[in-house]
Each structure stands twice: as C-alpha cells, then as structure tokens.
Homo-oligomer: 136 residues x 2
DNA sequence: CTAGAGTCCGTACCATGGTACAGAGTCAAG
DNA sequence: CTTGACTCTGTACCATGGTACGGACTCTAG
C-alpha cells in the first residue's frame, strides 16, 4: 500500500517526464487551470495516475488542434457530463480539421510541384514564386 | 500609360485589401523584411503588381506552414536562383506536412469516435477523457 | 480652400504557449 | 549531518504573428 503510493504518487519532475513535458509546462498548465495543484503537507506536492491521465489528455487534445482554453472547457464538460456540448465541440473541431487538412494537402501538392520543377534543371529562373501563383 | 500607373500602383490601403490583409500587417511584413518599402517622392508610397504577387506569395506560403522567416529565405532564394536549397526546403516542409497531416487525421478519428459515443446516449459518463486514452 | 479619408512612422500592446530564473525550503543518499 | 538534487512560489522574459494608437502629414472630392 505504502509502496504502491510511493510508486504512483510522483513528484513534479517525474510526473512531467512521464507526461512528456517540462516541469515549467506543468506549472503553466496549473496556472491556466488545466491541472490541479495537489495539496501537500508543507513539503512536496505529489501527482497521481488521474493527474497523469489528465496531462496526457491535454497533450493529445492539443495535437487535435484544440487550444488550451478549449481543452479547459473539454475537461469541465467531462466533469459535469455535458454530452451535448462536448459533441458539439467535437463536431466543430472536426470541421476545422477538415478545412485544415484540405489546406495542408493543397500546400503539399504545390510544394511537390515546386520540388519537381526545381529539380528538372530547366532553363528559366527557379519558379518558387510561380509555384504559388496558381495556388488552389 | 499614366492611367495604367494609376490603376496598378496602389496606395497601401488598397494594396492590403487586394492581398487580403490589413494595412498594419503589410507594415509588419515590411518590418520583417518580407516586403519592400517603395520609395516615394515625399508623399504616399505606391505598390505595384510585383509587390502584390509577393504579398500573395507570403500568404500562400504561410498556409503551406512556412514561418515568416522561412518565407523570407524562400524569397531570397527566388532572387538568387538557388534551386538546390529551394528544393531542399520544399522537401523538408513536405516531410513536416506529412507528419502534421497524419497527426490531424489521427485527431480527426479520435474526435469522430468521441462524437459518436457522446451521441449514443449510453449509460456511463461521457467518455471525453477516454476518447483520448487510446490515442494512436 | 477646406473637410475628411487615407497615409506615415514610431512605439506600445496583445494572445498563445511556453521557458527561465531567483531565493528559499525540502528530501534522500552517503 | 552534510551535500547535492529537487521542489516551491513568484515574477520576468521569450518567439510568433500580428493589432492598435497617437500625432503629423497629404491627398482628393466637393
């Protein structure tokens, strides 16, 4: 019991490392209200599995393109079980993702074209600007 | 001639609008060295078609995920015709784009799952956190 | 010729997402 | 019990990509 506590309740440095972020970032998330600040008996604060889950959630949601404040909202929704709003946020974000995906795919093919033309060693000037002229 | 100049050489406000940005943004790009500051005979500076092309290039390259400083480099490469470097930058960016695309696609499906589960109205708590638990 | 819109230039400020550092306290191994 | 690593709190600073503002000047339509 005491042993498992020692293993599962980590000081901030270990906690941050497990979450793939720096200590300062953990503190930053705390300041933003995304992570709780565990109570301590005067000494070091310790972070449990739920904290870790939450930290990882933040990173994942971030990679889904949510801003930190949206992530804050998601975490609150999770707590108060507001499915309707959560679903709506997910759909909104999916929409934004679809637009972003299309944009990045367009960018990718423009760049592809640029790379090919630059490689062809043709006679004209390197068509960087022109590669973006007929954009979309 | 004089007429075509009047049409093609625009004051900054019109120029910015045609480029889809604000006046302040044009000035910002100038401060960053991405756009020239046209000479003026004491009065208003005027922007020609090449400036517009450059401004639009900046926006397009930005949507391809280049940072402003990378865009600066691209513009220089265009000027000095350094194909090798340009090609290399394009390939590097394509690589980054591919990674970003994969990430966003993963995010999209996680969100899809979340939206579906939230809608199902099942009995458990709304599985927001869990939607990101098995991430990738 | 005058009013009002637009321009010029410098500087300040903003949001986002961190990152760094100082000074004091705490913990754990030798 | 000391030493060195780590932690705590607060505050400052950073890069990126803008956005706003003040005061002077200029341009153009009426």
């Amino acid at each position: 019991m005491v042993q498992s506590q020692a293993e599962e309740f980590l000081p901030i440095g270990t906690f941050a490392r497990k979450g793939g972020v720096g200590v300062e970032t953990v503190r930053y998330y705390q300041r933003q209200g995304l992570l709780r600040v565990p109570k301590s008996a005067g000494g070091m604060r310790r972070y449990g599995p739920e904290d870790l889950r939450r930290l990882r959630f933040i990173r994942h949601a971030q990679s889904a393109g949510f801003t930190l404040s949206e992530i804050g909202e998601l975490l609150e929704l999770d707590a108060c079980d507001d499915r309707k709003r959560a679903r709506q946020m997910a759909l909104t974000r999916i929409d934004a993702l679809d637009r972003k995906l299309a944009e990045l795919q367009a960018a990718r093919s423009s760049l592809m074209r640029l790379a090919v033309e630059c490689n062809s060693g043709g006679s004209g000037p390197c068509p960087i600007l022109s590669a973006f002229d007929a954009w979309r």
